[in-house]
């Protein structure tokens, strides 16, 4: 019993992180109909920025954890957001009217550039940051126990708050309305006076910011990262986005949670050897039986 509960806790925290990163894939797809293959590497960049900010803060003698986490979140989101903006400017905007394949390839190129640029500038070694927040909540259940570290609790909290805020922005604000309008029909939206180019930039920035939130939390929690961490987690988050229905914001969050939890349960109760095989089989099954994902709407040919 305690083991299943512990796996649910593991899966929930992992899944909330997948969800955060999946938002970047799903929003970009929603608005320009393309997969941003550099998104996993944006997450990786945010891990490095996190470590640099944490190091700077400690250099200036700041020890208090709340200040460190809030400061790191703000700075990392700002810089990573700028990366998201720059990627759109460099890799997508000049190719807005070319074939989809061209933009796809330039995104892959962007991903390689980011990886190699970080590898050259920061070194190829594994990096680590020291443990900043220790301690855990331990709940005894019968013979066993469920352990939830404060850091994991914080991950859940920040992830759900960020998702909530983002949902509010998209559903209730003027900016969100413009995003949704651009997503539905870019030409019409631009005729009605929406600067669609700017909206597309903003969507890239939002996606990168959400990846930055994940990057800060995960980097501080696991402590270890290298220039290649974006690859695996990027593919998983992409899977989550497709699972939930690519283009759908709640879908990305739901997909992330489902993927995280089912992966943990599978690894914990059956076999961790085949954990990734399981995740991607899940993706294939969903694509066969529900090609538009769990919450995605089937595409209707506009006449």
């Amino acid at each position: 019993m305690d083991i299943v509960l512990q796996q649910l806790v593991n899966g929930l925290t992992l899944g909330s992180v997948y969800g955060l990163i999946a938002i970047g894939y799903t929003m970009v797809y929603g608005i320009i109909g393309m997969i941003n293959f550099a998104h996993g590497d944006v997450y990786m960049v945010s891990a490095y920025i996190t470590a640099i900010v944490v190091a700077l803060l400690s250099y200036f003698g700041i020890e208090s954890f709340p200040i460190i986490i809030v400061g790191t979140l703000f700075v990392t989101i700002a810089i990573t957001g700028a990366y998201g903006w720059a990627i759109e400017q460099i890799a997508y905007r000049p190719l807005r009217n070319s074939s989809r394949l061209a933009a796809l390839i330039s995104a892959i190129g962007m991903s390689l550039i980011l990886q190699n640029y970080v590898q050259i500038s920061q070194g190829a070694r594994q990096q680590g940051i020291p443990n900043l927040l220790s301690g855990a909540i331990r709940i005894d259940i019968g013979d066993g126990f469920v352990q939830l570290t404060y850091m994991k609790l914080l991950i859940l909290l920040v992830a759900f708050v960020s998702m909530g805020v983002l949902t509010y922005i998209i559903q209730k604000t003027k900016l969100g309305r413009m995003c949704r309008a651009t997503q539905q029909d870019p030409k019409m939206a631009s005729i009605l006076g929406i600067n669609t180019d700017r909206i597309i930039s903003i969507v890239f920035v939002i996606g990168a910011s959400m990846a930055a939130v994940a990057g800060v939390l995960i980097t501080i929690d696991y402590g270890a990262f290298d220039f290649y961490v974006g690859f695996i987690i990027g593919i998983k988050a992409f899977t989550a986005a497709v699972l939930g229905g690519i283009g759908s914001l709640p879908g990305a969050m739901l997909g992330g949670l489902i993927l995280g939890i089912s992966e943990s349960l599978f690894a914990g109760l059956i076999s961790s050897d085949y954990k990734d095989v399981f995740s991607f089989s899940l993706l294939v099954i969903i694509l066969i039986f529900r090609p538009s994902g769990l919450l995605g709407k089937p595409e209707v040919e506009k006449v």
């Binding site: 796996q7 593991n10 892959i108 680590g128 855990a136 696991y222 402590g223 695996i232 914990g268």
Partner: protein
């Protein structure tokens, strides 16, 4: 997937570019130093490079090899088999290497060694411990470290004899080295009548191992044996402690790097971690001056640095006594002793050391490791 393919082709383009530049060296004796100089395992590549480069420097300062100066060439396999093959070809074809120190990862050493065998290049690996490296009977392959079956024996007898553990969980990273080591340990454990309570693989490059750790808790393991490298061992041991498990963590020589501590987060997590590794190489009398030499140049010869130094010495001895012919040198090594910074080394007909010297080390709460017993 296309992601990786494109990365590979870009890399090989970069390598092709490098060929044009590096094909000038002629009058010197070219010796390759192959290993993961970039990538997640670059810490080990650095150990290999430092050791081999210092050995070449010392040998050149003493007059070179039969009057020829050694030129060391860095070759980066990033611990990827495919890249290992391509740089092995480069070393042989365009750099004209007569011998190679390396590689590090067994999964790279095995395919690369076949290219060296075809080209008649002598290869001495300082660190590849998988049995297959020498079991294939290639005449040019040697190693100055032990074998995983020997390492597994030491770990398993320690687990059963010293720790008296009955509930052992075995994890590995699905790589040639990691799985080989885990299998060797498992085999010896089973021969002592201890059946492992868990045997599983995890994915290299991943950082979240919470699910498998919960599983370790569920089988109530006293000891966790991990076959793999520090980049996974660090997060693994940290998350193990964070989930409240007090199981003893044991691994092999894949974690013998300061980076194990930094990747784990802080020294408190590695406190008490056990590790099998060759007997302290810095303690050999012959190596004292070498170790001093490293320290005066501001480098602490940790992990495989001295092994790499030794590998270079073995190569040079073989070449020196056989008119710089690598294949004759290989033949010669099988029947002659070589005196190195790590003592006198004798090789058997397969290229393995006659005597291996695995012992148990323990990490402390300062993040340092020391030999126990």
């Amino acid at each position: 997937m296309s992601h990786t393919i494109i990365k590979k082709s870009l890399l090989s383009m970069a390598i092709t570019g490098a060929i044009a530049v590096s094909s000038f060296a002629q009058a010197e004796l070219v010796i390759g130093v192959a290993g993961p100089h970039t990538g997640a395992y670059a810490a080990f590549g650095e150990q290999l490079w430092r050791g081999a480069a210092k050995a070449a420097e010392d040998i050149n300062a003493a007059g070179g090899v039969n009057g020829e100066m050694i030129k060391v060439v860095k070759a980066d396999d990033a611990c990827e088999p495919k890249q290992a093959v391509s740089i092995a070809n480069r070393l042989v074809d365009s750099d004209g290497a007569v011998a190679v120190v390396g590689h590090f990862c067994s999964s790279s050493t095995i395919p690369a060694s076949e290219i060296y065998a075809d080209a008649g290049v002598l290869m001495v690996t300082p660190a590849s411990t998988n049995p297959t490296v020498t079991d294939r009977g290639l005449e040019n392959v040697f190693r100055v470290c032990g074998r995983d079956d020997q390492q597994g024996d030491v770990a398993a007898s320690y687990i059963v004899g010293e720790l008296g553990a009955q509930r052992v969980a075995i994890l590995h990273d699905k790589d040639t080295y990691g799985k080989g080591l885990a299998d060797a340990t498992k085999r010896t454990l089973n021969s002592y009548g201890v059946e492992e309570v868990l045997y599983e693989g995890l994915t290299r490059g991943e950082k979240d191992f919470n699910a498998v750790i919960t599983k370790i808790r569920s089988v109530d393991a006293d000891v966790v044996y991990f076959g793999g490298l520090h980049s996974e061992a660090g997060p693994l041991v940290r998350q193990l402690r964070e989930q409240g498990s007090t199981a003893i963590f044991i691994s092999g020589d894949g974690i013998v790097s300061d980076e194990f501590v930094s990747v784990a987060g802080s020294p408190e997590y590695v406190d008490g971690v056990l590790m099998t590794f060759g007997a302290d190489p810095t303690a050999y009398a012959a190596g004292k001056t070498v170790v001093e030499g490293f320290r005066t140049s501001g480098y602490e010869p940790e992990g495989y640095t001295l092994y790499s130094y030794t590998a270079m010495q073995v190569i040079v001895e073989a070449l020196k006594n056989n008119d710089l012919d690598p294949i004759k040198g290989a033949e010669w090594l099988k029947s002659n002793s070589v005196s190195t910074a790590m003592g006198v080394k004798d090789f058997d007909s397969k290229g393995d050391l006659e005597v291996s010297d695995y012992v148990m080390y323990k990490w402390d709460n300062k993040g340092k490791y020391a030999q126990i017993d």
